[in-house]
């Protein structure tokens, strides 16, 4: 198996240029999908039987929640790759992904909270999903804080990698515990901030938004990554040529 392509990819100058070329291929489709998804969700989809038009919040809440978890998994996997195989680019991916994931978690919490008001009458409920999202936010913040506290970049990368691995192992445990805790004290009212049972009309915009958000993440990640690569490659000679272009 010829691994040259892989080594090329992990080489910073190559990656820097490749990332620059790939970004629009993620960015524009993302924009399109999000626009289409918004139209489908806000205009085309029929209102929900129980929740009326309020259910449309799902079109921003669910994709944000999905992204918050997907990005954390990405972060943990790249950090692990960086730690085990000592690939600097992998650490850069984790570092670049963290703030994006944290913001998506905030979006999921905010939209989930806002959605809760018309549904349950309060601005916050200790719903299993929301509580899990909140704990996920803490995990993100811990990761970002640890990285910020360590001056030596290599030590920061590796320490954060250990933290990310520990976090991702704990995530299912946290999820299960919070779920169990929630059902324990649940009254007769539904607490699941779940998607209402959806017809295809309602479902396709949701999938479109999720795909759009994922591609969006790709585009933003690549941009941030280019910044990371420059910062990490400070004195490399390729940088001079590249920036002179």
């Amino acid at each position: 198996m010829n691994w040259t392509w892989f080594h090329k990819l992990a080489s910073p100058p190559h990656f820097y240029r490749l990332a620059g070329r790939m970004t629009p291929w993620f960015g524009w489709p993302a924009f399109l999908l999000i626009v289409v998804g918004l139209y489908g969700g806000l205009v085309l989809a029929p209102p929900d039987y129980q929740q009326g038009d309020a259910f449309r919040i799902v079109y921003v809440h669910a994709p944000s929640a999905w992204m918050s978890m997907f990005i954390y998994a990405t972060l943990a996997v790249s950090a692990a790759i960086g730690l085990i195989w000592r690939i600097k680019l992998a650490h850069a991916v984790a570092a670049a992904a963290a703030p994006i994931g944290a913001w998506f978690t905030c979006a999921a919490l905010a939209t989930g909270s806002i959605w809760g008001k018309p549904m349950w009458g309060t601005w916050w409920v200790w719903d299993a999903r929301l509580t899990s999202e909140l704990i996920l936010l803490f995990l993100y913040l811990g990761f970002i804080a640890l990285r910020a506290s360590i001056d030596d970049r290599e030590r920061a990368d590796r320490a954060c990698a250990v933290l990310a691995i520990v976090g991702v192992i704990n995530l299912p445990i946290i999820h299960y515990s919070v779920d169990w805790w929630n059902t324990l004290h649940q009254g007769s009212t539904i607490t699941k901030l779940g998607k209402p049972s959806m017809t295809f009309d309602m479902l396709w915009p949701l999938l479109t938004m999720i795909l759009g958000f994922t591609l969006y993440f790709g585009a933003v990640l690549l941009t941030r990554l280019r910044g990371e690569v420059i910062r990490r490659e400070r004195d490399a000679s390729w940088l001079r040529e590249e920036l002179a272009r």
Partner: protein, 56 residues
């Protein structure tokens, strides 16, 4: 369905529009923050290259 009905969102407008608005703001913010991050990295790198060139 006319524009007024659409904006009213069946009475839930005060929940729906801020949710979408907030998410949109965050999406835009992340793009701009990423671009700024990249741009400032380039700037710093250029400055360092220039200053090292000036040294004999």
């Amino acid at each position: 369905m006319n524009l007024a009905q659409f904006l009213a969102m069946g009475g839930y407008a005060v929940y729906v529009w801020p949710s979408f608005g907030l998410t949109l703001i965050l999406l835009i913010h992340n793009v701009r923050a990423a671009r700024r991050y990249h741009a400032s990295a380039r700037e710093q790198a250029m400055r360092r290259i220039d200053s090292s060139r000036k040294q004999p």
